[in-house]
């Protein structure tokens, strides 16, 4: 089997909480990411779906080296970045880029579009001169769908619409010709009419330039426009994984089933039975025993209190972490 572009194994990120008392190690942790493994091949898009606080953003930041992993490995193109020194990270960062949720916040208001897009080249000293930087910035802007690019170079973010800003952010990521693009909720702040443009752009980049995309979202509705596969996270764990077709049409984990059932359908004729989970996601400091979903699970049984189920393959490429899979 070919080595995937990104291979994550046993990744864990814990944040200590409370005050450290006189040199004693803290005894309580936020289990932001807790034993996560995933593979991402070149040119593949994986959607990481979950509610806020499930650890999906922490996972992204850890993959980008903005948080240090507590344990586990992050193999990118064969190198383990989790334990790598800064120099290896700096080289890897050229190939892993990120775009953020809020296009109003992720661009420096005092820099022109040209400066923003050329900044990565500047930081990595990749372009020998200004003309080259400009040429590559223009190319990246056009790739991101801002044409003619020259028209945008001298403008400031506040002169652009939300969709255009998000395109600038994408251009600034593309200029380094990355192999992996981490997109953290890239459309949740955008109006519906603009949302599709950005999602389609991401899908095109994946197809045409075979850039792998890690698409982080809370909205199962937007997933299929971009992703090939889905990973559903709950309280720091991946509870279900599979192709979009598999997970969207035949979800196996009760959490995925519930999540999918409550996505509002844009048609009153399609009003479906909702599985509404009661209460809220438990405190990630005091995790439930056994299966961490059992307190809210509509089909939980006594065994769920004690057994912490691993992610097991069901058939095809689908896998889920639930002890009642066989019964269903």
């Amino acid at each position: 089997m070919n080595e995937p572009l990104l291979r994550v194994r046993g990744l864990r990120k814990l944040f200590p909480v409370g005050r450290r008392a006189l040199g004693r190690a803290p005894d309580q942790f936020v289990h932001a990411v807790d034993d996560v493994g995933l593979d991402l091949a070149a040119g593949e898009a994986l959607a990481l779906v979950g509610e806020s606080g499930c650890g999906k953003s922490t996972l992204a930041l850890t993959l980008l080296g903005l948080e240090t992993a507590t344990a586990g490995s992050i193999h990118f193109e064969g190198n383990d970045l989790a334990a790598a020194p800064a120099s290896v990270w700096k080289a890897a960062r050229r190939h892993i880029q990120m775009i953020f949720q809020d296009p109003y916040e992720s661009l420096n208001p005092l820099m022109t579009v040209g400066e923003i897009v050329a900044e990565p080249l500047h930081v990595h000293k990749l372009a020998p001169n200004a003309a080259e930087r400009r040429r590559r910035s223009v190319a990246a802007l056009e790739d991101a769908g801002l044409k003619p690019a020259e028209h945008f170079l001298a403008r400031f973010p506040h002169e652009l619409s939300g969709g255009q800003r998000q395109r600038v952010a994408i251009a600034a990521a593309l200029v380094l010709e990355p192999r992996l693009l981490v997109a953290d909720e890239p459309v949740s702040m955008l109006d519906v009419s603009i949302r599709a443009e950005i999602l389609n752009l991401l899908a095109d980049l994946k197809m045409r330039r075979s850039i792998a995309v890690l698409f982080i979202t809370h909205d199962l509705g937007t997933v299929s426009a971009v992703a090939d596969r889905i990973a559903v996270m709950y309280l720091g764990r991946i509870v279900e994984m599979g192709t979009v077709q598999e997970v969207m049409t035949a979800p196996r984990h009760p959490y995925t089933q519930a999540l999918l059932s409550v996505v509002p359908a844009p048609n009153p004729r399609l009003r479906r039975q909702h599985i509404i989970l009661q209460g809220e996601t438990p405190d990630p400091v005091k995790l439930p025993t056994g299966c961490r979903f059992h307190p809210r699970c509509p089909v939980a049984v006594e065994r769920c209190r004690t057994i912490d189920p691993p992610l097991q393959t069901i058939g095809g490429t689908q896998a889920a972490a639930c002890i009642r899979l066989d019964e269903a």
């Binding site: 603009i194 996505v263 844009p266 009153p268």
Partner: protein, 340 residues
């Protein structure tokens, strides 16, 4: 579950809004026409969804109904009638007496809409004390407990402060507060944005249940067509401060007449049909202080023709319950008439 479109056709509407227009004035700029000639009705027990993208005037509409526009906002024309009361003719004092008693609101982002230094129970009690006889402290206290219970919050948490609540619970508390004086109409402004999908589903379920239990009229303001499809009977689609389409929920989703509604629906992902490619609407909404001379949607409309750039279309009736502001409707109607 489908709702018939015209259950109230002959009854007098609870709320009747006619040609409501609002400007925002800025001394250094031409006034922004935030709302133009908006006309719609709301019947008792009905849920009306007001849908549109940011800047389409839906929040302005909601504030104008309550007469809570910011200082720069001016109601420049129209009428808002609640039963037989013309709200725009009331004095500020009369309006204040009517607010919350008959028209209550659920604001977006309940963290900021609740006072951080007063307990939740106290803020609910305040509304009751203001509009009803609340001399019996015991009864008032019991009432607050019942309201919290109604929205699924343990009555024992009434003495806590908003910061001790989670986002979903704050929104529930906000709903309890809105119901405090048993209003006729609850205006909900993006009540579930910024909430997680599951919490959003819980809140929508709660609103639907309460509506049935209390025969509430709900005006749901949102950008999310999905939420409207789940909860509402009728839909008002707004674009650039004006009515684009107004119809029963089934007509809007299955027989949309206005190109904007049609495009919006194509842009909306459908979880039941994965792997379909989404359509987008190129361009961006018009600036309200620099509107195009013709139809406001013309610059982005895929079915645009010459006339659209010249004059704004009127509101045409497709059926008595289906209105759209588009020349295409008129063309179809005249063509239909000729064929007859």
């Amino acid at each position: 579950m489908m709702t018939e479109v015209t259950p109230h056709a002959h009854k007098q509407p609870l709320l009747e809004v006619k040609r409501l227009s609002v400007d925002y004035v800025d001394p250094s700029q031409p006034p922004a026409q935030a709302l133009r000639d908006l006309t719609f009705t709301l019947h008792r027990g009905e849920a009306l969804g007001v849908v549109g993208e940011s800047g389409c005037g839906k929040s302005t509409l909601m504030l104008a109904l309550m007469r809570l526009l910011p200082a720069a906002g001016r109601i420049v024309g129209g009428s808002v009638r609640l039963d037989d009361i013309e709200l725009l003719a009331l004095s500020e004092r009369e309006m204040a007496a009517l607010r919350w008693k008959r028209l209550a609101m659920i604001f977006q982002g309940a963290m900021n809409a609740l006072n951080p230094v007063r307990t939740v129970g106290d803020q609910i009690a305040e509304a009751i004390r203001l509009h009803e006889d609340a001399s019996d402290a015991r009864a008032l206290d019991r009432r607050v407990g019942e309201l919290l219970d109604l929205v699924g919050i343990a009555a024992s948490r009434r003495n806590q402060y908003p910061f001790q609540y989670s986002g979903g619970m704050r929104q529930r508390a906000m709903i309890a507060m809105a119901l405090a004086c048993s209003p006729d109409i609850v205006i909900a402004d993006e009540p579930t944005t910024a909430l997680d999908v599951m919490i959003q589903a819980q809140i929508l379920q709660l609103l639907a249940d309460l509506r049935r239990q209390l025969n509430l009229s709900i005006l749901l303001v949102t950008h999310d067509l999905g939420i409207v499809a789940e909860l509402c009977d009728r839909v008002l689609v707004m674009y650039g401060g004006a009515l684009a389409e107004y119809a029963g929920v089934d007509a809007i989703y299955n027989a949309p007449a206005h190109p904007y509604t049609q495009e919006l629906l194509k842009a909306f992902p459908d979880p039941t049909r994965p792997l379909q490619r989404l359509a987008s609407i190129p361009g961006s909404p018009p600036r309200l202080n620099d509107l195009p001379p013709g139809c406001r949607f013309a610059p982005r409309c895929p079915q645009v023709f010459d006339r659209c750039h010249l004059t704004p279309p009127r509101v045409y009736a497709i059926t008595s319950d289906h209105l759209a502001s588009c020349f295409l409707v008129e063309t179809q109607q005249t063509r239909g008439a000729r064929h007859e």
